[in-house]
């Protein structure tokens, strides 16, 4: 009996995908016959039979990704049978497949923010066994998922104790710019992360074009004042630039008759304990409803898959003194208007008092930006990666519209413009989402149907 293993063709190759089997179970082959075609990094290779015999125990199908040196089939001589324990190893390798490391930099979370709890079961087990805090481990799997390989790597990096060796300066810098240290490669002695490494990491995220040009002389004016461009302000700015540069976004807008929603708003206000309900609460409610019906807009783009996220956590852009901040309202699809209003009031207040916690800023799946209070008619917002959509909400203003009889009537109208990642959301889907949103804002009772 001879094992057929997935060969390793390159130094850094870790997996191959089976493109096509050229033989099937039970076929007689000779040594050197092509058994399958496999591919890795766009390079196709053929797997040859190591000796003559009968093809048996094929373990992976076409399209499956297999770690190298893994057994993919057996060649049996007449009278031989398959090994008894192959099932056990097979299920193990199933885990391996699921945890297969994709040897590229994580794409999903460009801010480098860690999304806790996204571990594969195997990764969770290994981390628990080693006593490692999974929160610190950054995932290189799809959607930022932490795989077992990530856990192993983190363990090695931290000499098994889960603590990242980093200088105080590096830690401070990472804290200030919102970078997870686990993502940064330490070039110091024993893999220690130094300040320069953190800086290099954050700069590598930004295409060179975004750094200030060195050409020309800086104009120095007497009495020129400066505002620091550091910390959170800088981090948000860099993320925006990244978004604008790399995401092919489309914008769709829609004008909405707000009469009925405004009436509902009055009702909500009278029911609220403190009588304070913002219009945003109703917009969040309807948006959440629409997102559950169009989950493609509440998703994230992974390496090879689009992840439809289970929760609808809406980030609300709030303007504070030091710039923009986006606190998150969780599980908006499961809350009523009054509950949402309370939550919105709370985070907005805390944002303005600079009392937001880290957890308030994490986990948004979609963002709403409302400039209505400034009387803006319409505007375009920039998508906040890794989200795929952002809704720009403008002011409610009385405008002339035509009624059923074609007569001009003054109605309260509001513009909404959606920016969405065209790699994930196509025009029709975006349009359907907006259409549903309008429908339910113009007739809120439709949410009950």
């Amino acid at each position: 009996m001879k094992e057929v293993i997935m060969p390793k063709f390159g130094f850094t190759q870790e997996v191959s995908e089976i493109v096509e089997w050229r033989v099937k179970e039970g076929d007689q082959v000779e040594a050197g016959d092509i058994l399958a075609e496999v591919t890795t990094d766009k390079i196709s290779m053929e797997v040859e039979a190591p000796e003559g015999g009968i093809v048996s125990g094929i373990r992976y199908k076409a399209g499956e990704i297999v770690p190298v040196t893994e057994i993919i089939a057996y060649i049996l001589r007449p009278g031989e049978s398959l090994p008894a324990d192959r099932e056990a190893s097979s299920s193990n390798s199933r885990d391996n497949i699921r945890d297969a490391v994709v040897a590229e930099a994580p794409l999903a979370d460009s801010k480098g923010m860690v999304m806790p709890g996204k571990l594969t079961p195997l990764a969770a087990r290994v981390a628990a066994d080693r006593g490692l805090d999974a929160l610190n481990i950054v995932g290189s799997g799809p959607g930022g998922r932490v795989t077992r390989m990530d856990v192993e790597q983190f363990s090695a990096q931290t000499s098994g104790n889960g603590k990242l060796p980093a200088t105080p300066a590096a830690k401070r810098l990472a804290r200030e710019t919102g970078i997870a240290l686990g993502l940064v490669k330490g070039l110091g002695p024993n893999g220690r992360i130094q300040a320069a490494d953190v800086r290099a990491f954050s700069e590598s995220k930004i295409p060179k074009i975004l750094t200030t040009p060195e050409t020309g002389t800086l104009v120095q004016n007497r009495g020129m004042r400066t505002i620091p461009f550091t910390g959170m302000r800088k981090a948000i700015a860099m993320n925006m630039a990244f978004s604008a540069q790399t995401i092919p976004a489309i914008q769709l807008e829609i004008d909405i008759d707000m009469e009925k929603t405004l009436a509902l708003w009055e009702q909500a206000k009278s029911h609220a304990a403190d009588k304070k309900v913002s219009l945003t609460a109703l917009i969040v409610k309807t948006a959440a409803w629409a997102l559950t019906r169009h989950p493609i807009l509440n998703s994230q783009l992974g390496q090879n898959e689009i992840m439809l996220l289970p929760e609808v956590n809406i980030g609300l852009a709030v303007a504070i003194e030091s710039g923009l901040i986006v606190p998150v309202i969780r599980q908006t699809d499961r809350k009523g208007i009054l509950e949402l209003a309370e939550g919105i009031n709370d985070v907005t207040q805390r944002a303005r008092q600079s009392k937001l916690r880290g957890s308030d800023l994490e986990g948004a799946t979609f963002t709403i930006s409302n400039l209505g209070m400034f009387g803006i008619d319409r505007f375009t917002a920039i998508i906040n990666p890794p989200q795929v959509g952002i809704l720009a909400v403008s002011a409610v203003k009385k405008r002339f519209v035509g009624n059923e009889l074609g007569e001009p009537v003054l109605h309260n109208m509001m513009n909404m413009r959606l920016s969405t990642d065209h790699r994930v959301v196509d025009g029709a889907e975006a349009a359907r989402f907006l259409s549903d949103l309008r429908a339910v804002l113009e007739n809120p009772e439709e949410m009950l149907l």
Binding site: T167, P168, K171, P189, Q194, A195
Partner: protein, 328 residues
């Protein structure tokens, strides 16, 4: 500005103080007729007479006690320990009497004395004549400890020490006595407890004392050619220490190297390192705090060995390079 040697600057300071103030006198072994083992007090006895430039028998405890007694009864004595090593015979008077009198007496005694120590290695004087003992005194509350590294500082700090109302241990380095530098002609005092940024730089903070300040400056010139700019800080007064400029510098550079001649273990460098780590500079450290200091041994007689026993220019250069390049 005219230049004086470190020894000449000290002499000028003593002379000016004695001219101005009859309560100031100098006392020590061979300081009068001989002019001091290192010539620092040469000529003073001719100007002021044997009553104010007092040659003593070999009695270090007596010399120190004489300073204490004179100081507490209204005078400003300047005592000398011919070699800093000999101060150990005066430790009782300096640490149990001078340092503690004021406190023990409820703040009601004042001991405005200066004890000058000729300190350091490099002259082949070997194990019992080459000590650097500043750390011993830094550990004694009630004393002040001063270490000038230039002629200008020597004169200014000495005058300040004479007029400080506390007992001051004034540590001079033998190798610096002949070093020349600009010294203002007038009466001036250099404030105690004021660290000085001797040279600015952005890659590394170097905190050095006494002769190591001079060596660090020469190292800086060499490093500058390689594009490494070190910032040198001379604390000048070790106790009480002015930590602030050091903290600000470390925040700026993120890396610090402490250099002193005294033995590393239990040396003053450990104190500075701990104070830096306890300060807000901690969050700005991008490498471990490093010390370059004397080897863990008595000073040997052989010249080559003697030179290796304490930090030299090339040691500072190498250590600075390593720190800046991230070897540590």
């Amino acid at each position: 500005m005219r230049e004086l040697s470190y020894a000449e600057a000290l002499r000028e300071g003593m002379r000016m103080a004695m001219e101005k103030d009859s309560s100031v006198f100098v006392i020590g072994e061979d300081i009068g007729v001989y002019g001091g083992a290192f010539g620092v007090t040469a000529g003073l006895i001719d100007q002021f007479g044997p009553e104010r430039v007092i040659d003593t028998p070999i009695s270090e405890a007596g010399i120190a006690g004489a300073c204490v007694g004179a100081a507490v009864t209204g005078m400003r004595p300047i005592g000398e320990m011919q070699f800093s090593d000999f101060v150990v015979l005066a430790m009782e008077q300096l640490t149990l009497q001078a340092a503690k009198m004021r406190f023990m007496f409820g703040g009601k005694a004042t001991v405005p004395m200066v004890m000058r120590l000729a300190s350091g290695s490099g002259t082949g004087a070997a194990a019992q004549h080459s000590a650097s003992l500043e750390a011993w005194f830094v550990n004694v509350p009630g004393l002040k400890v001063v270490m000038p590294s230039t002629p200008q500082d020597a004169k200014g700090l000495l005058l300040a020490s004479i007029y400080d109302n506390n007992p001051v241990i004034f540590i001079e380095h033998k190798l610096l006595y002949k070093m020349k530098g600009p010294v203002p002609e007038e009466w001036y005092t250099t404030p105690l407890s004021q660290s000085m940024v001797v040279r600015e730089g952005k890659h590394l903070t170097v905190v050095a004392t006494s002769v190591e300040v001079i060596r660090a400056q020469q190292a800086a010139d060499i490093l500058a050619k390689e594009g490494i700019e070190i910032e040198i800080i001379d604390p000048r007064t070790l106790r009480p220490l002015d930590l602030d400029p050091i903290v600000r510098s470390v925040i700026k550079t993120g890396k610090v190297l402490i250099v002193h001649e005294a033995v590393k273990m239990g040396g003053f460098g450990g104190e500075i390192a701990a104070q830096i780590a306890e300060s807000k500079a901690f969050d700005y450290l991008d490498a471990p705090i490093r010390r370059l200091a004397g080897l863990d041994m008595p000073i040997p007689y052989n010249r080559i060995l003697e030179s290796h026993a304490v930090p030299q220019i090339e040691n500072i250069v190498e250590e600075a390079r390593k720190l800046v390049k991230g070897v540590y």
